[in-house]
């Protein structure tokens, strides 16, 4: 599951999967813009089969925050 999320982040942020870490955030990633955020949200909803509410969207600030969110929702079981 974590690998799937890493791929989503790498694709949206136009970086290699190796570059995606828990610390990857909007503060330290060049291509983290509106479009990247939309791509990540849409891909997470599609790949993990969940519907995110507004409070969930506000957690798209870092890889760790999104991973924790998915764990909380039972979508990431690692």
């Amino acid at each position: 599951m974590k690998k799937k999320l890493i791929k989503i982040f790498a694709d949206a942020l136009k970086i290699s999967e190796k570059e995606v870490t828990d610390n990857t955030s909007f503060k330290n990633t060049k291509h983290w813009d509106s479009l990247a955020m939309v791509m990540m949200v849409t891909a997470v909803e599609n790949e993990f089969g969940i519907k995110l509410n507004f409070e969930d969207l506000q957690k798209f600030v870092s890889f760790k925050a999104v991973y924790d969110l998915l764990k909380e929702k039972g979508a990431c079981n690692e």
Binding site: W32, D33, A36, V38, N53, F54, F60
Partner: protein, 210 residues
């Protein structure tokens, strides 16, 4: 500093402000001031990056222009224009508005500009669009809110769609951008759909009776 302490600090600063209009998680809205017009606000509209999809980009924007516009937005009931303030830094980072407010047919046009580059990561625009949409439906009792954007402005269009706005049409060859005409996409959302949307924010408000 713990999250709660930070929140207390923010609340101490934000809540006493008579200008504060509505508050979200990352940003709050307040009325625009002369200090804003003399500050970065007028400069954003001279930035090619910020104005690339706007008609305003053809003219140089001065402090006087901005002060004149401020007088207009302070007195008109045709539009509601609010400053977007980052809660953590208390910095003015953009403006959000409901324009062309039609009180008979109950619709208005949403627009949002994040002028400060450091905050152009989707998070602040998303919350601002959600907040102004909520204000339009809950406070102004609008029936419908719409937004338009040049087809190449995918960042703005996709972000708005993420909140549940649906594409309902397009103005053919409506905008002249980078030497060619582009269609403008029309996005809209009805009050009834917004009220049942999971993308509706919980808005903490000031001076808000409901």
């Amino acid at each position: 500093m713990s999250d709660n302490k930070i929140k207390d600090e923010v609340n101490k600063y934000v809540y006493p402000s008579e200008f504060a209009y509505a508050r979200g998680e990352h940003v709050y809205f307040r009325y625009l001031t002369e200090e804003d017009a003399k500050g970065e606000w007028h400069l954003w509209f001279n930035s090619p990056e910020v104005t690339q999809y706007m008609g305003a980009r053809r003219w140089f924007n001065t402090i006087d222009n901005q002060l004149e516009y401020l007088q207009y937005v302070k007195t008109t009931k045709d539009r509601l224009t609010l400053a977007i303030i980052d809660i953590k830094t208390n910095k003015h980072i953009g403006v959000c508005s409901l324009g062309s407010i039609d009180y008979i047919n109950r619709h208005a046009e949403e627009s949002c500009v994040i002028g400060d580059k450091k905050f152009q990561n989707g998070l602040y625009a998303l919350e601002s669009i959600a907040m102004i949409t909520e204000i339009g439906f809950s406070r102004l009792n609008l029936h419908k809110i719409y937004a338009t954007g040049a087809e190449s402005n995918q960042n703005g269009l996709m972000l708005t769609k993420l909140l549940g706005y649906k594409e309902s049409g397009r103005f053919k060859e409506h905008s002249f951008i980078k030497g060619k005409y582009e269609d403008s996409i029309i996005l809209e959302i009805l009050q009834v759909d917004w009220f049942k949307s999971p993308k509706r924010p919980k808005l903490m408000q000031l001076n808000y009776d409901e």
